[in-house]
């Protein structure tokens, strides 16, 4: 018995030591890959970043997986988009990850939507059938200007954890934000103005915040409800004889877009909404280029 006790003590101590040695690297867990890109670009060698949601999946619709809890268990900083994007699974992750450092309200928890205004969500007015974004549209990773603001917040937050490098971190965040805004400006200047487009779910409408384009409708009759034929026919009737495009996320079904392409002649574009994990700033800039290329260029 005594020997066993001794053995388990040794085990416990070595585990604690192991924990201590991991603490050498500052661990950031982000829900989406855009946030992961910002954290990586700003934190550089100081941090180690883990992204939870696969970039090619709907971030609304995930399970609170055990591996997520394992990741958050050791996180020094948890960064989420907020505004209901991760509402279906992140509370279950943080509630079971046994890591008080990333509780909401602590420096170890950063909710990006707390630091920027959002586009109003159409889900707030409609009948409550799908999911409701009561705080606004949470898909603001599609807006480089808002992401530049988030970058600044991440820079300041990292500066809190690394006071010696705070100035450098904030400068890096500032420069990163500038790169996002510059690229957005260049792309916007190339797009022929006043183009209209229809999207599947309220997410890609953030493009009209920085490109000279206008979102005029949704394939979903109500957010969360798949396109119905009567709704699609109504869209065809409304826009018959006009020009436009249909944009949708690459994980959303293409059928509604194909219907409009057939009946209105509007070309459809299946677009990724998040950059590949680990593709860095370049990955996000290329993604912006891809979004802008869905429109007619000058």
């Amino acid at each position: 018995m005594k020997k066993q006790l001794g053995l388990s003590l040794v085990l416990l101590v070595s585990l604690l030591l192991a924990t201590a040695s991991w603490a050498g690297s500052f661990r950031i867990v982000t829900t989406t890959s855009t946030l992961g890109m910002l954290a990586e670009e700003i934190g550089g060698d100081l941090v180690q970043v883990r992204v939870l949601a696969a970039p090619d999946r709907d971030a609304h619709d995930l399970d609170a997986r055990p591996s997520f809890m394992a990741a958050v268990r050791r996180a020094d900083l948890l960064i989420e988009m907020g505004a209901g994007l991760e509402e279906g699974w992140l509370p279950a992750v943080t509630g079971n990850a046994a890591n008080p450092a990333v509780n909401y309200g602590r420096p170890g928890h950063l909710r990006a939507s707390d630091f920027t205004d959002l586009r109003p969500s159409i889900t707030v007015e409609g009948p409550n059938t799908g999911h409701v974004h009561e705080e606004g549209n949470p898909h603001f990773n599609l807006d480089p200007d808002r992401m530049a603001r988030v970058a600044q917040v991440i820079g300041r937050r990292l500066g809190f954890f690394f006071p010696d490098q705070a100035e450098e971190l904030e400068a890096r965040a500032e420069a990163l934000g500038q790169q996002l805004r510059d690229h957005a400006g260049r792309l916007a200047a190339q797009v022929k103005p006043n183009q209209q487009f229809i999207i599947y779910h309220e997410d890609l409408d953030y493009l009209e915040e920085w490109l000279p384009v206008k979102n005029v409708g949704y394939l979903e009759p109500i957010p969360g409800l798949p396109p119905t034929s009567s709704h699609l026919r109504a869209l065809v009737q409304e826009f018959s004889g006009q020009e436009g495009r249909v944009l949708y996320a690459n994980y959303q079904p293409s059928r509604g877009a194909r219907f409009l392409e057939e009946h209105l002649g509007w070309p459809g574009y299946a677009l990724p909404l998040e950059p590949a994990i680990g593709s860095g700033l370049e990955g996000y800039l290329n993604l912006m280029t891809e979004w802008a290329a869905a429109f007619e260029q000058k």
């Binding site: 192991a18 696969a54 999946r57 399970d63 394992a70 279906g88 279950a92 798949p226």
Partner: protein
């Protein structure tokens, strides 16, 4: 009681219609949700009511209704009203009321810490034990209308649901490793039945004694490697020991009393494949559990009326015996179209089915096979059709000619998003 249920649900409906959130700035303060469930049940072909060795009578002291009290025709299934709140960053609190046609019950009411260091969490109150996989899940999270036989007959109609405390430790590793223990009051009729001291009959004490709670200790571990975005696997092992298992049955002239202990142990596994396509198309879930239960008791009968064997207070049938029983299920659910799922489940109950009472009996195993089809028109609603084929062993002479059941279910979740746990 009923009135309260109605009032409370009306309140929740009002809350959910307005926003799904009460008194909240960040969605974190108070979440209310209402789950409404309706079941249509039709016994297409009559089979044995309960599996041999698990029915009423003397087997283990608990008489089951048919399929969790589901009657033929329309049923207000298992509806729930859930409140979740956080006390700052210290605690999460959950109150979950379950109700059906004629009663309302506190299913869960607990506090769980979120501020202890080093990976520890403590939960206290009334809750569903974390043993196994399905035990801690509410019926609207199930892939089938009904509870698996092994959970229903080894732990009861509500599973292992007890009042007590739970402590867990989550290891600081990339592989999810959770270890937990639970100290529970021990009131579960199937593994921790408790009666307490009974009045002596003409000076003859009964074998049943008072025993202070907590009387049930459980332990569990869950292990889940990180397999990337497409695949997820969780393996679990759990067990429990009940310091007291008591049972009494009143015959025409005597009390039959059992006093002893019980233990159980089991393993569970869940695998999920997520295709990444929309509305669950291409997703696959495989799930299986096995549990074994042993009841180890002393029996002593006491006359409360004089009969041919002796006067009031006469003692007889003094013996010691064990009941050993087990069960398992395995199921698969596949999203074959957007918003459509189909699933199959195979179950065995009593592969070991040895009852020690009297000269001892060994019953055959019972089997059940189920198929289900589920349609989710929008996120918070599902419609489900399920067919069960029962092949239950009869207590007397082998297997009954199997029965067929049809169940149709409508389930609607109103209000705040329930979190999608794994």
């Amino acid at each position: 009681m009923n009135k309260f249920a109605l009032k409370a649900s009306a309140m929740a409906v009002a809350a959910s219609l307005s926003s799904g959130v009460l008194a909240s700035e960040h969605n974190l303060d108070m979440r209310v949700s209402l789950i409404l469930d309706g079941i249509y049940f039709n016994e297409l072909k009559h089979g044995a009511h309960s599996p041999a060795g698990f029915g009423g009578g003397h087997d283990h002291g608990h008489d089951h209704g048919h399929s969790h009290g589901i009657e033929e025709g329309f049923n207000l299934g298992h509806s729930e009203l859930a409140f979740e709140a956080s006390l700052g960053e210290l605690l999460d609190g959950v109150l979950l009321l379950g109700f059906d046609n004629d009663h309302i019950e506190v299913e869960e009411a607990y506090l769980k810490t979120r501020s202890l260091p080093a990976g520890f969490q403590v939960k206290g109150g009334k809750f569903l034990s974390d043993i196994g996989y399905i035990n801690s899940r509410h019926s609207h999270d199930w892939d089938f209308v009904d509870r698996p036989l092994v959970n229903e007959y080894l732990f009861g109609d509500h599973g292992l649901q007890e009042t007590g405390i739970q402590a867990t430790w989550l290891a600081p590793s990339d592989t999810y490793t959770l270890i937990g223990v639970e100290l529970l009051q021990g009131e579960n009729a199937e593994v921790a039945n408790y009666i307490g001291e009974q009045e002596a009959e003409d000076g003859t004490d009964r074998i049943l004694k008072d025993r202070a709670g907590p009387r049930l200790l459980t332990a569990f571990t869950k292990w889940a490697p990180d397999l990337g975005h497409d695949h997820a696997l969780q393996l679990g092992a759990s067990g429990g020991y009940s310091f007291s298992y008591q049972y009494t049955d009143q015959h025409s002239t005597r009390h039959e009393d059992w006093e002893g202990t019980a233990w159980f142990a089991g393993v569970d596994a869940v695998y999920k494949y997520e295709s990444g396509r929309s509305y669950g198309q291409g997703n696959l879930t495989l799930q299986a559990e096995y549990f074994y239960r042993e009841i180890d008791v002393d029996r002593r009968d006491v006359n409360f009326e004089a009969d041919g064997n002796g006067p009031i207070g006469h003692i007889r049938n003094v013996s010691s015996f064990k009941n050993k029983q087990d069960g398992l299920y395995a199921q698969a659910v596949y999203g074959f179209l957007p918003r459509w799922e189909a699933g199959v489940r195979a179950e065995a109950l009593g592969l070991t089915n040895d009852l020690g009472r009297g000269d001892g009996t060994s019953h055959d195993a019972s089997f059940r096979y189920s198929g289900q089809l589920t349609f989710r028109p929008v996120e918070p609603i599902f419609l489900r059709a399920q067919v069960n084929h029962n092949d239950f062993a009869e207590e007397g002479d082998g297997h009954s000619h199997g029965g067929w059941d049809l169940m149709l279910q409508v389930n609607v979740a109103l209000g705040a998003h329930g979190a999608h746990t794994f």
